[in-house]
Symmetry: C2
Subunit: 244 residues, 2 copies
Amino acid sequence: MFRKWIFKLDRFCPLSSAERDALQGGALRTEQLHRDQDIRPAGDATPACHLVVDGFACDYTVLADGGRQIVACHIPGDFCDLGSFLFRAQDHSVAALSTTTVAVIQHQVLLDLAQRYPRILFALWQDTLVDMAVHRQALINIGRRNAYQRIAHFLCELCLRLQAVGLAQNSVYDLPLTQADLGDALGLSVVHVNRTLQLLRAAGLISWRGTRVTVQDPHGLERVAGFEPAYLKLHATDAMGLSP
Amino acid sequence: MFRKWIFKLDRFCPLSSAERDALQGGALRTEQLHRDQDIRPAGDATPACHLVVDGFACDYTVLADGGRQIVACHIPGDFCDLGSFLFRAQDHSVAALSTTTVAVIQHQVLLDLAQRYPRILFALWQDTLVDMAVHRQALINIGRRNAYQRIAHFLCELCLRLQAVGLAQNSVYDLPLTQADLGDALGLSVVHVNRTLQLLRAAGLISWRGTRVTVQDPHGLERVAGFEPAYLKLHATDAMGLSP
DNA sequence: CGGATCGTTGAGTTGTATCAAGACGGGTGG
DNA sequence: CCACCCGTCTTGATACAACTCAACGATCCG
């Protein structure tokens, strides 16, 4: 269950084999959800975290006027409500964006692990720091870039993240989002997302048929987006080598 | 030095007196910076964190086209580069927004504290979770609200945060930001910030003379902003009571 | 007094939203 | 197997929020 997470973690916080074994140890319950089903509604106090094993999930909030803002996307290997470990109830909801299976990890299990293996505690904290960096980039994206660049940036980021867990090859990946979802994630209307995607296609940067995204010109797309992947901490050089 | 931070922390993660004493223990070096001076430039690997003691700081990134996005504001009692504890170099810069003094805390000191008092480790992690919640709100703000609501939300948030550390009374506080800073934080142009502020003043919601902000109608402002303060974890009920 | 920074105004432009309606496609039930 | 429906994608027309450029006023400070 933790496999993809550990794999991702290896880039910036390699664990010892004892630590890995401890994580892989107990069998975990999994749950399967379908699109639009909540994994953890806002305010829910379930004493467990969820790790995406397969499919896509997102953090979202709906405003008084009915508008929805997606504030984060979770792919396999991501915790989707790690914060609940320290603050039970979250102020936003987490939902599945496609048919999704998640592993359920009781907080108590996490706590035991953290106490026996302090490095795991640091690893978890580092994980939330990476999520935070993703949020910062999203802020820059929405705050300072136009629709064309925003979508380009989003697609670049997802491509790299999926690649990091083996779910994208040659810049081709499966993206089960509707254009409405994309709009909600990037602060754009569906109509505008549609027109902008057509521009990206016309420019020969991407193709997107059904749920299959192909980044035809990765460098071009990154240039358009002003994409700087360092924040994802995907390279071993980012490791700090903390030794507690 | 840690006084305001502990004070803030008390709301969601009260420390024992031994833990407090440990924090207050060593004398810390402080630094004073003037407006626009970097506290930690992007990529800087200084092995120390900075805690704002007085003044305002911000996290920002400047894009290729010269545009600047401020992704976070730090007030007294906030760590402004806690993430550097686990990932030395940050991908964004931290700068003073006014004349600001910060306490310098060596990572080693933090590490020693964390090892001796595990609760402090949890407290630090919780601190980053709150910062993350602030980012999420900023995303919602920029992604889904118009200029009028955005500015209102920003002013509401700062009012509460400053109040929490004793720097705002009766919804009056000192805000040493220029309108350009506000624009960079909210993804708006200076001109538009200016005009929108005039609307907020005309509506009798706020007044802003020099650096002095007065929220004349707190409820009205919150209503306009759709402000929901729970994410700031300002109330004792948010505490989880972790006991490691 | 001159220069720098910040706030304010006006005029014109553009990116993006909104509304409305049609096209396409997949699934379901008769 | 067809008819129908629903969700999604697509297109067109129009409206408006926010941007840009440009200039001027107000402070503050050396």
